[in-house]
C-alpha cells in the first residue's frame, strides 16, 4: 500500500484528523508555500476565534478604571488584586469542592449502576427487561424544562432539597437513559458471552462475573460516558439553581451566577471570577482532549 495512504489510515484510526504530509482533500500534495500560507491563515482564524478569552483574561488583570479606559490592550499595570478579592467574595474554594464532589460522585455512580443495568438488560432480554430498556431509551427525548417543576416537588417531598447528595441522585436518574442506551449496544459487541460462561463454570456469581469480567471490557465506553457526563454535570446550571440554596453548597456555575447578581458591573472582579470559573473545566478538557474529540467524532457522543 502506498505510503501516504498508509499514514492516512493510521491518522484516521488515531483520532480522525489527517496529518500535514498527506494529500488533504485535493488528492495531490500541494507546494510547500501553499501549506504554510494555509497554516498561517487557519492559525490566525483560530486565534481570532478564541479572542473573547483574551479580552476576559487580559482585563481580569487590570484595575477597574483601566478596563474602561482601554479594554483591548495589555494590562498595564498588571494586578492580581481582582483575583484575591473575587476568590474570597465568590467563595471559590467551596464552589470548586462542591462541583468536584457532585460531579465525581455522580459520574462514578452513574457508570456503575448504568453498566449494571445495561449488562443485565442486554444479557437477559425477557419481556419485562425489554420494556424497561425501551422506556429508558424513549425518555431521552424529554427536555429538562418539561420535568423541572415536578423534580423540585419530588425532591422536596423526599426531604432532599438543599442537599448535594440529593443533587447527585437526581443526576443519576436523569443520566440513566443515555448511559444505558450506549452501554447496551456496547455490551453486545465488546463482551464475549463465552468469557462469562467460563466464569460461571468456574463458580463465579453473577456479581463477580460482572465486576471482574464484564466491567473491565466495558472500559472504553465507560471512559467516553464518564467524560461526557463530566461536562454535562460540571457545567450544569438550572438544576443546582432550583435545588441548592445554602451558599456553602453552591456549584461553580451557581457561584458565578450569584456573584454577577450582586456585582453586575464590577467588571474587574467579575472577569476574575469568570476566569476562575473557566479554568478547571478547561484544564480537564485539555488533559483529555484527544479522547473527547475521538468520542464526538465516533458519533457516540450525543449533543
Amino acid at each position: 500500500m502506498n505510503i501516504t495512504r498508509r499514514a492516512r489510515r493510521q491518522a484516521a484510526d488515531d483520532d480522525g484528523a489527517p496529518i500535514t504530509a498527506l494529500k488533504g482533500t485535493t488528492g495531490r500534495k500541494p507546494p510547500r508555500s501553499r501549506i504554510i500560507l494555509l497554516s498561517v491563515i487557519t492559525g490566525l482564524l483560530a486565534l481570532f476565534w478564541l479572542s473573547p478569552f483574551w479580552f476576559v483574561t487580559s482585563n481580569s488583570f487590570k484595575e477597574f478604571g483601566d478596563i474602561l479606559k482601554d479594554a483591548a490592550g495589555v494590562p498595564d499595570p498588571f494586578t492580581l488584586d481582582n483575583y484575591s478579592t473575587a476568590w474570597e467574595s465568590a467563595g471559590f474554594v467551596s464552589a470548586f469542592f462542591n462541583s468536584f464532589f457532585v460531579t465525581a460522585l455522580a459520574v462514578v455512580l452513574m457508570i456503575g449502576i448504568g453498566a449494571m443495568a445495561a449488562w443485565r438488560l442486554a444479557r437477559v432480554p425477557h419481556r419485562m427487561n425489554k420494556l424497561v430498556f425501551y422506556i429508558f431509551v424513549s425518555a431521552m427525548i424529554i427536555p429538562f424544562q418539561t420535568i423541572m417543576i415536578p423534580i423540585v416537588q419530588i425532591t422536596s417531598d423526599l426531604h432532599l432539597l438543599d442537599s448535594r447528595i440529593g443533587l447527585v441522585l437526581i443526576y443519576l436518574g436523569l443520566g440513566m437513559p443515555l448511559t444505558v442506551f450506549f452501554l447496551h449496544g456496547f455490551v453486545s459487541t465488546a463482551v464475549p458471552v463465552s468469557l462469562e460462561e467460563a466464569a460461571r463454570i468456574d463458580g463465579a456469581s453473577s456479581w463477580q462475573t460482572f465486576r471482574y469480567i464484564v466491567l473491565p471490557l466495558l472500559r472504553p465506553m465507560l471512559a467516553t460516558l464518564a467524560i461526557l457526563h463530566t461536562f454535562w454535570i460540571w457545567n450544569d446550571f438550572l438544576l443546582p439553581l432550583l435545588v441548592l440554596f445554602d451558599p456553602e453548597k453552591r456549584t461553580i456555575p451557581l457561584a458565578v451566577f450569584q456573584f454577577f447578581g450582586r456585582h453586575a458591573n464590577a467588571w474587574d472582579l467579575a472577569l476574575a471570577t469568570l476566569v476562575m470559573g473557566i479554568l478547571p473545566i478547561l484544564v480537564f478538557f485539555l488533559a483529555f482532549q484527544k479522547h473527547i474529540i475521538k468520542g464526538v467524532a465516533a458519533g457516540s457522543v450525543k449533543g
Binding site: 480522525g16 500535514t20 444505558v180 458519533g299
Partner: protein, 315 residues
C-alpha cells in the same frame, strides 16, 4: 453450548448471548433477584426523577398548581387555552423558531467550513482543531457572562478605537441586536462541535474516490463540491437535526446573556417556561407549556435519532 442434557424442544436456538429461561421456581426467583439487583438502582432513580416527574408534569398541566401549598385544583384545558392566547408565548415561540433555524444554518456552515479548513494539508491541524472546539467545553452560563462583557465593554472599546459602527451598536440593548448577540454566542459555542463531526465524516471518505477524482484532474473546488460534500450528506443530516434540537432547548446562554431582556424580547421558550414557573409562580400554566415544549422537541429529537441510526448503518 448446552451443558445439561436438555430435550431437543428446550434447546436454545437463539444466539448464545441470551440466557435460556429458568425452569425451576427457585431458579426463577434467583433470576428475579438478579434483575432487581442489577437493574433496580438505576431503574428506581430513573422512575422517581424522570418517569414520575414526567407524569406529574402532564397531569398538572390540567390543574391550577401551586407547588408551595400543594394545591392543584383541576381546570381542564384552561391552561392550554391560556397558553395559546398569551402574546408573550407567541413572541417566545417566534424567537425560538427564528433562533433555531438561523443558528442551525450558520453553525453548520461555519462548522463545515472549519472542518474543510482543518482537513487541508496544513501544519498544526490538530492544535487548531482543539482551539476551535474550546468554546464548546465551557458552560453556557459562563459563556453568556463572558459575552455580556464583550458586547458591552470590549466592543465599545473597539468601536471607539476604530470608529466602526458595527462595534458601537447597543448590542444587548435592543431586541434586534439582542437576538443577534445570542445567535453569535450560540454559533460560536456550537460550531466547534459540529466541526468535529464533519471532520470525522470527511476523513472517512474512501481514498480511492479521491484518487480517481484527482486522476480526472479535479481541482480543490470541484473535489469539494462533487466528491466531499455529497459523501458527507449523512453527517450533514445528523448535524442539522442535532443543532435544531440543541438550539430549540436554549437556556443557559439566554439566561446569562440577556435574561430575556430588554423587556422579554429575547426570551426563548425554555426561559419562558422557567419564568412562568418560578418568577410568576403559575406552575399549572408552566406545565402546559412544558408539555407543548416536549412535543415539539420530542419530534425533532426523534427525527435526529433516526437520522443518526441511518448514518450508522451506512458507515
Amino acid at each position: 453450548m448446552n451443558v445439561s442434557g436438555l430435550k431437543t424442544r428446550e434447546r436454545v436456538s437463539a444466539p448464545a448471548a441470551v440466557a435460556p429461561p429458568p425452569r425451576s421456581r427457585r431458579r426463577r426467583l434467583r433470576e428475579i433477584r438478579r434483575d432487581i439487583g442489577f437493574v433496580g438502582p438505576g431503574l428506581l432513580l430513573f422512575c422517581i426523577f424522570v418517569v414520575a416527574a414526567f407524569a406529574s408534569s402532564v397531569y398538572h398541566s390540567f390543574t391550577d398548581w401551586n407547588v408551595v401549598t400543594g394545591d392543584a385544583p383541576w381546570v381542564g384545558a384552561d391552561n392550554y387555552r391560556a397558553v395559546l392566547d398569551d402574546p408573550r408565548v407567541a413572541d417566545s415561540a417566534i424567537f425560538t423558531a427564528k433562533f433555531a433555524v438561523i443558528t442551525t444554518i450558520l453553525a453548520n456552515i461555519i462548522g463545515l467550513g472549519l472542518a474543510l479548513l482543518v482537513t487541508q494539508p496544513i501544519f498544526l491541524a490538530k492544535v487548531y482543531r482543539v482551539m476551535f472546539f474550546v468554546p464548546n467545553v465551557i458552560g453556557g452560563v459562563i459563556l453568556g457572562y463572558v459575552f455580556r462583557f464583550i458586547f458591552s465593554t470590549a466592543f465599545g472599546a473597539i468601536g471607539d478605537a476604530t470608529g466602526i459602527g458595527f462595534f458601537q451598536l447597543p448590542w444587548l440593548g435592543t431586541p434586534a441586536t439582542g437576538f443577534w448577540a445570542t445567535v453569535i454566542v450560540f454559533v460560536w459555542k456550537t460550531s466547534g462541535y459540529l466541526m468535529v463531526i464533519y471532520v470525522a465524516a470527511i476523513v472517512s471518505i474512501d481514498d480511492s474516490l479521491v484518487e480517481a477524482a484527482t486522476i480526472d484532474g479535479a481541482n480543490w473546488w470541484q473535489m469539494t463540491r462533487r466528491v466531499t460534500l455529497p459523501l458527507i450528506m449523512p453527517a450533514v443530516t445528523v448535524s442539522v437535526f442535532l443543532t435544531l434540537s440543541i438550539s430549540t432547548k436554549l437556556f443557559d446562554v439566554n439566561f446569562a446573556l440577556t435574561n430575556g431582556g430588554p423587556y422579554g424580547s429575547t426570551e426563548a421558550f425554555a426561559l419562558n417556561i422557567y419564568n412562568e414557573a418560578f418568577t410568576y409562580n403559575n406552575q399549572g400554566v408552566a406545565s402546559a407549556k412544558a408539555v407543548i415544549f416536549f412535543v415539539v422537541v420530542g419530534f425533532i429529537t426523534i427525527v435526529q435519532v433516526s437520522a443518526t441510526k441511518r448514518r450508522e448503518v451506512q458507515l
